[in-house]
C-alpha cells in the first residue's frame, strides 16, 4: 500500500469519528463515545503511517525530505496535531463530548488537503531555500501550536453554547445538557492556549533563525511573519487579561475564537490574499 491510500483511510476515519462524537453530543448515548475515540485513534495512527510512507517515498524518488514542506504536507500534519492533541486531552481529562467540537477540524483539514483543486499533492523536490533543518523545526513547532489553538477555539464555541443554554434555562436533558461544566471548559481553554502559546513562540523563533541562516535577516516583516506576531500579540493579550485582570468565561471563549481566526489567516489568508516570501506555501 502507498501513502495516498493511508491518507484516504485517515480522512474517512476522521469523518466517521466526527460523526460518532457529534452523535454522542446530540443523543447522549454514552455507548457510542468509545467508537468515536477508537476511530480518532485509528485515523491518527494511519496518518502517522501515511506520513512515514510519504517520507520513505520521497527517498525512493531521490529527493528525500521530511513531509513538512508545502501546503499539502503542512495541512496533513495540522490534522495530525489536532488528532494527537485531542486524544491526549481526552485521555487526560476523561471527557468525550469535546471531540464533537475538535475532531471535525481534523477532518476538514484532511478533506481540504485531499480534495481541494488547488492543492498540489505531489512529492516535489525542495528548492534550495527550503533545504534546512530549521524549516522542519519551524513547521513542527508552529503546527503543534496551531493544533492546540484549534482545540481552544472548539472549546470556546462549546463554552458559548453551554452558556447561552444556561442563560435560556434550557432543561438539563436538552442538547447542551451533555456538555461539561462551564468552569471545566474555561479551565481547559486556558490550559490549551498556554500550551499553544509556548509552541507558537517556539515556531516564530525557529522561523526567525531559519530566515537568518538563509537570507541574513531574522525578521523582515513579510506578511506571514507579521501575521504570526499579530497572532502572538493576541494570545499574549488573552493570557494577561486572564492572569492579571481575572478575565474568564465568555470573554476568554471569544478571545480563543478570535485567536484562531488570526491563526487561520496567518496560515491561509496570507497565502491567498497577500504576497510575500512565504508564498511558496500556496503551491
Amino acid at each position: 500500500m502507498n501513502s495516498s491510500q493511508f491518507f484516504g483511510i485517515t480522512t474517512l476515519a476522521y469523518l466517521l469519528s466526527s460523526a460518532f462524537y457529534i452523535a454522542l453530543f446530540i443523543f447522549k448515548n454514552k455507548k457510542i463515545g468509545p467508537i468515536g475515540t477508537a476511530l480518532c485513534a485509528l485515523g491518527t495512527l494511519t496518518l502517522t503511517v501515511a506520513m512515514g510512507l510519504r517520507w520513505q517515498e520521497s527517498y525512493q524518488l531521490g529527493i528525500g525530505h521530511a513531509p513538512l514542506t508545502n501546503m499539502y504536507e503542512s495541512l496533513v500534519f495540522f490534522a495530525w496535531c489536532i488528532g494527537a492533541f485531542y486524544l491526549f486531552m481526552e485521555f487526560r481529562f476523561k471527557n468525550r463530548v469535546i471531540g464533537a467540537f475538535v475532531v471535525p477540524f481534523a477532518f476538514v483539514a484532511m478533506a481540504y488537503a485531499s480534495f481541494s483543486k488547488t492543492m498540489n499533492q505531489e512529492i516535489s523536490p525542495l528548492i534550495p531555500a527550503l533545504q534546512s533543518n530549521w524549516l522542519i523545526a519551524h513547521v513542527l513547532t508552529c503546527f503543534i501550536g496551531y493544533g492546540a489553538f484549534a482545540m481552544a477555539a472548539g472549546l470556546g464555541v462549546m463554552y458559548l453554547l453551554k452558556k447561552s443554554a444556561l442563560a435560556k434555562k434550557l432543561p438539563e436533558d436538552s442538547l447542551t445538557g451533555s456538555l461539561p461544566e462551564l468552569r471545566f471548559i474555561d479551565d481547559m481553554t486556558y490550559k490549551t492556549i498556554v500550551f499553544g502559546f509556548l509552541w507558537l513562540s517556539a515556531g516564530i523563533i525557529t522561523g526567525a533563525i531559519w530566515a537568518n541562516e538563509a537570507w541574513g535577516t531574522y525578521w523582515s516583516w513579510d506578511p506571514k511573519e507579521t501575521w504570526s506576531i499579530i497572532t502572538w500579540f493576541l494570545y499574549a493579550t488573552t493570557l494577561h487579561a486572564r492572569f492579571t485582570r481575572g478575565w474568564s468565561g465568555t470573554r476568554i471563549a471569544w478571545l480563543a475564537i478570535l485567536g484562531f481566526i488570526s491563526v487561520f489567516f496567518t496560515y491561509f489568508g496570507v497565502n491567498y490574499l497577500l504576497s510575500g516570501l512565504h508564498s511558496y506555501g500556496s503551491s
Binding site: P125, I205, W215, G216, T217
Partner: protein, 454 residues
C-alpha cells in the same frame, strides 16, 4: 503600598491595562503593513491610492511603517511598560521567594485547603525526626523550629520559579536590544555604518571586491578585506528544478588567502562577523573554455563569447563555441567546434562542467566549457543577532518555567494532644493546584504506610 502616593506617570506604566492596550494596538496597526505594500516608490502609492491619500500615507510613514516614528514610539512605550511593570512587581516576588515560612501561624496552617491531621506513635521529638527523615527521602529538605509547644517543619520546591515571568519579560527586552544593536540605522546614527549593515554584491567569477553596496542607500560599505568569487554553479534535479546554487568564495587579507569556502543557500560564509549568503546569480553570454594537451600537460583557459574562433598558435589549434541550447538564460549544452588542421574539424555537444576527450592526429586533448556567471551575494553584519538568539532562548525557558513549573510549599506540625502525638501536614502551590493535591495526598499516604510499618 498605595497607588495614590505614586507618581501618575509611574502608575500608568505600571498598569497591565496599558499593556493590554499596547499589545492590541501593536497587533492592530501591524495589519496595515500587510495590506499596503511596503517600500515601493512614491509614484506607486500615488498611482494606487490617489495623490491625497498617498500624501497622507507619506506623512504617516505608511510605506515603511515598521520603521516609522510612530511604530518605534509604540515599541518604546511597550518596553517602558514592560520594565516599569516588572520593577514594580519583582520586590513582591523576591519577598515570596525569600520569606521565612516557619513564621506562618499554626492556626493558619490548620485551616489550609490542602491539609491532613492524624495521630502517630512516639514522642514529639521522635516523630519530628522521623517526619523530617521521611520528607528528605522524598526530596523535601526541611527546616525546623519549635514554636508554641509544637514542632514545625517546612520544605519547599521551585521557589525560584516565581521569577519565570520576569525571565520572559526580560527576554523580550533582550531581543529588542539585539534588534537595536544590529540595526543599520543605529549604526549610521552613531556615525559608523561599518558597525552593522545589510547589502549585496554581484561578483562575476574570477572577480574580487573590497566593498559591498548597502541596501539602505546603495552606497559602498568597506569590508576591511577582499572577497573573491572563484566559481559559481547551479545543480538541477532530474525534472529541471534548481537543486542548489553554489559559489566558491575566497577571502583575502593584504593579498593573502585567509579563508576559502563553498557556500550554498542556507550555508553562508562568515568572516569577521560579516556573513555572505548565496542569494542570486546572473548568467553572462560569455563562456570559459579550458583545453589541455594530455600528452604535454600544457593547458589554456579562454573567456569568450559564442561564435568566435580562438587560436592557440603554439599548439596549432583552433576552436570555439558555434551553438548552444539554453533554458532561460542558463546554457544546457554547448556545440563545440575544434580542429588541429590535420583532419576534418570535430563538432560535438558538451554539457557545462563535463570534460570531452578529443583524439586527433596531433594528440589527445581534454576540453571543458562553462558559462560565465556572477554570483549574487547578500551580505550582512549584525552584531545584535546573538542578543536576539539569547533572548529567544531565555523566552522559551521563561515560558516553560512560568507556565509549567510551580512553587510548592509543605509544612508539618507535630504536637502533643491529650497524651497522643498528632501530625498535621499542610501545603500549597501557586499553580497546577490539582497536581499538587495529588502529590500531597500520595505523600501523606506513603508517610502513614511507612509509619505503620515501623
Amino acid at each position: 503600598m498605595t497607588v495614590e502616593k505614586k507618581n501618575p506617570f509611574w502608575a500608568l506604566f505600571a498598569s497591565v491595562k496599558l499593556a493590554l492596550f499596547l499589545l492590541l494596538t501593536l497587533a492592530a496597526t501591524s495589519i496595515i503593513g500587510t495590506i499596503i505594500p511596503q517600500n515601493e516608490t512614491a509614484g506607486f502609492y500615488v498611482q494606487q491610492y490617489g495623490p491625497n491619500l498617498a500624501r497622507l500615507m507619506q506623512t504617516l510613514n505608511i510605506p515603511d511603517m515598521y520603521n516609522s516614528w510612530w511604530f518605534m514610539i509604540l515599541l518604546g512605550l511597550f518596553s517602558l511598560n514592560l520594565i516599569v511593570c516588572s520593577i514594580e512587581r519583582i520586590p513582591n516576588a523576591w519577598r515570596l521567594v525569600t520569606m521565612d515560612n516557619l513564621k506562618t501561624g499554626l492556626d493558619r496552617l490548620a485551616k489550609m485547603k490542602v491539609g491532613k491531621t492524624f495521630a502517630v506513635e512516639g514522642s514529639r521529638d521522635e516523630v519530628a525526626e522521623r517526619t523530617a527523615a521521611f520528607l528528605s527521602g522524598k526530596g523535601w529538605k526541611t527546616s525546623r523550629r519549635e514554636k508554641d509547644g509544637a514542632t514545625l517543619l517546612f520544605a519547599q520546591k521551585g521557589a525560584w520559579t516565581r521569577f519565570g515571568v520576569y525571565i520572559v519579560h526580560t527576554s523580550i527586552l533582550v531581543i529588542l536590544v539585539g534588534a537595536i544593536i544590529g540595526s543599520p540605522r543605529i549604526a549610521k546614527l552613531i556615525g559608523n555604518p561599518n558597525y552593522a549593515f545589510k547589502g549585496s554584491i554581484m561578483l562575476p567569477e574570477g572577480q574580487q571586491s573590497d566593498v559591498i553596496y548597502s541596501f539602505a542607500d546603495g552606497k559602498p560599505v568597506d569590508l576591511g578585506f577582499t572577497i573573491r568569487c572563484d566559481f559559481f554553479d547551479i545543480h538541477y534535479y532530474p525534472n529541471g528544478m534548481p537543486k542548489e546554487y553554489l559559489s566558491d568564495l575566497t577571502v583575502l587579507e593584504n593579498g593573502k588567502v585567509v579563508l576559502q569556502k563553498r557556500i550554498e543557500v542556507n550555508e553562508p560564509l562568515i568572516y569577521r562577523g560579516i556573513t555572505f549568503y548565496q542569494s542570486s546569480y546572473q548568467p553572462y553570454n560569455d563562456f570559459i573554455l579550458t583545453i589541455r594537451n594530455n600528452a604535454t600537460g600544457l593547458s589554456r583557459t579562454e573567456l569568450t563569447p559564442a561564435a568566435r574562433q580562438i587560436t592557440w598558435k603554439e599548439a596549432g589549434l583552433r576552436f570555439g563555441i558555434i551553438n548552444m541550447e539554453t533554458r532561460g538564460q542558463a546554457v544546457q549544452r554547448f556545440k563545440i567546434w575544434f580542429t588541429d588542421d590535420q583532419a576534418e574539424p570535430a563538432k560535438f555537444w558538451l554539457e557545462p562542467g563535463r570534460e570531452a576527450i578529443i583524439k586527433r592526429p596531433s594528440g589527445e586533448y581534454t576540453l571543458s566549457a562553462k558559462q560565465l556567471y556572477a554570483t549574487g551575494l547578500q551580505v550582512a553584519k549584525d552584531p545584535g543577532v546573538w542578543w536576539v538568539y539569547i533572548g529567544c532562548g531565555l523566552m522559551l525557558i521563561g515560558l516553560y518555567v512560568a507556565f509549567f513549573m510551580s512553587h510548592r510549599k509543605l509544612w508539618a506540625v507535630i504536637r502533643e494532644e491529650d497524651g497522643r502525638t498528632v501530625v498535621l501536614f499542610a501545603g500549597n502551590a501557586n499553580k497546577n493546584k490539582l497536581g499538587f493535591e495529588k502529590t500531597f495526598s500520595d505523600l501523606v499516604d506513603d508517610f502513614k504506610q511507612a509509619d505503620q510499618g515501623l
